[in-house]
Symmetry: C2
Subunit: 246 residues, 2 copies
Amino acid sequence: MEEQSPGMNTTQDGVGGGEQSEQKVHHYDVSKYERPSVSVDVVMMSLRQRDLQVLLINRRSWPFEKKWAIPGGFVNIDESLEAAAKRELQEETGVQDVYLEQLYTFGDPGRDPRTRVITVVYFALLDSERLQVRAASDASDVGWFSVYKLPSLAFDHEKILQYALSRLRGKLDYTTIAFNLLPEQFTLRELQQVYEIILHRKLDKRNFRKKVLATGILEDTEIKKMEGTHRPARLYRFNPAAERKL
Amino acid sequence: MEEQSPGMNTTQDGVGGGEQSEQKVHHYDVSKYERPSVSVDVVMMSLRQRDLQVLLINRRSWPFEKKWAIPGGFVNIDESLEAAAKRELQEETGVQDVYLEQLYTFGDPGRDPRTRVITVVYFALLDSERLQVRAASDASDVGWFSVYKLPSLAFDHEKILQYALSRLRGKLDYTTIAFNLLPEQFTLRELQQVYEIILHRKLDKRNFRKKVLATGILEDTEIKKMEGTHRPARLYRFNPAAERKL
DNA sequence: ATAATAGTGTCTGTGAGACAGTATTCT
DNA sequence: AGAATACTGTCTCACAGACACTATTAT
């Protein structure tokens, strides 16, 4: 296993580790009990073609052969959960230092017909710009799908994606989570589109701009983005110093 | 606290685990990898003595001998995570059918000096009334502690409790989570006290009542609670039919 | 009457949402 | 001049928070 990537930023809800009640621990003999497998799955979302898309992998073998699935892998014995998620991210997209948070842990017996597998699901948001580079080089059995038009999925992965989407929506207006889907500099129109795509509805331009600018989390770069035959737009940058609320 | 269920860890014919990138699944052989232990810890909170308290267990043995810890136990191989949490709850408090939600999963290697343990933490809220019954019968190495005056805890359990508390606070005003700490019938004053204890600050009586009643989630029982030498208070009941927002 | 808690209404400021016209650039 | 997008301000309504007095019961 490679514990590569000194890793940085990411996780939000990060907290430490937990334990078990002493009595149990006291008499517990590791060798006596069958242990479940523990995997880490990573829901990777990005904005592509003005759509919210998720990266899926086509399974080659039983079970759910030929079905699409959320990428994941087993946790190495001396690797943290987050490190395993980052490794997965790196393997699939080649991207590092992206937004990553733990979503939920799914562990129903029987969710995997092979053996008992408990999976800790992480959620990653990739900014579209950096991603473009590597997108073409991906293997053919890896693909991006609109979260609004998903293919039939393996395991309980439909449920997991729905959960990820609702988490994203829920956090949209009291965190700065949306900025993780944009490159460093962006126009207000682009930011509004991110919100519209995620919320899946139109927003009023004036109200949106008023509200966002009022929070002070945006910094004017003094640069204008010229494109096409019309008035150029100001480019803004996220100002982490003003990390209050949106 | 007996983690029966035969079987042994490791060995098992080449069954792949959860969902991983196809390349890996394809070549994966379970017997080759060491599996972590998986435990479930349950943060149980209740209102006692007009305080928000958490149930802790005093550890008998290494590591963290004599320190207080969040109760927990290992997950049986054919038991769901939630079932394991309910079992734990039942063992420690004898209570069933309480509010229970998954909090977070902690899995840093080395957080338990004995072996690699990944723990899925659940959060339970117990209503004070039903609990009183069994409280006295508890063993001496189990105790309730104010979340505002915690003893020194084992592992990184302090962080976990802080996390649980912030989750509780965060959900307080857009869910009906607080009702789980009250008996079926309660006065508005009692409900307000729940909010005050959790938020750790005073609330305005008139604004609180106005707001809560406006949501329509309370049903007047037409009963009055007489106690002491003063005007009796109306008893209300939670109306699940009106589960909109608080 | 007194003590003790239950119960109630108004005002003010803030923020969300509805809504339409002017500004700037390129061809 | 025309096309295309950037940019801006006002009004209304709902909700949050500040704030003080009357109602009901038991002794």
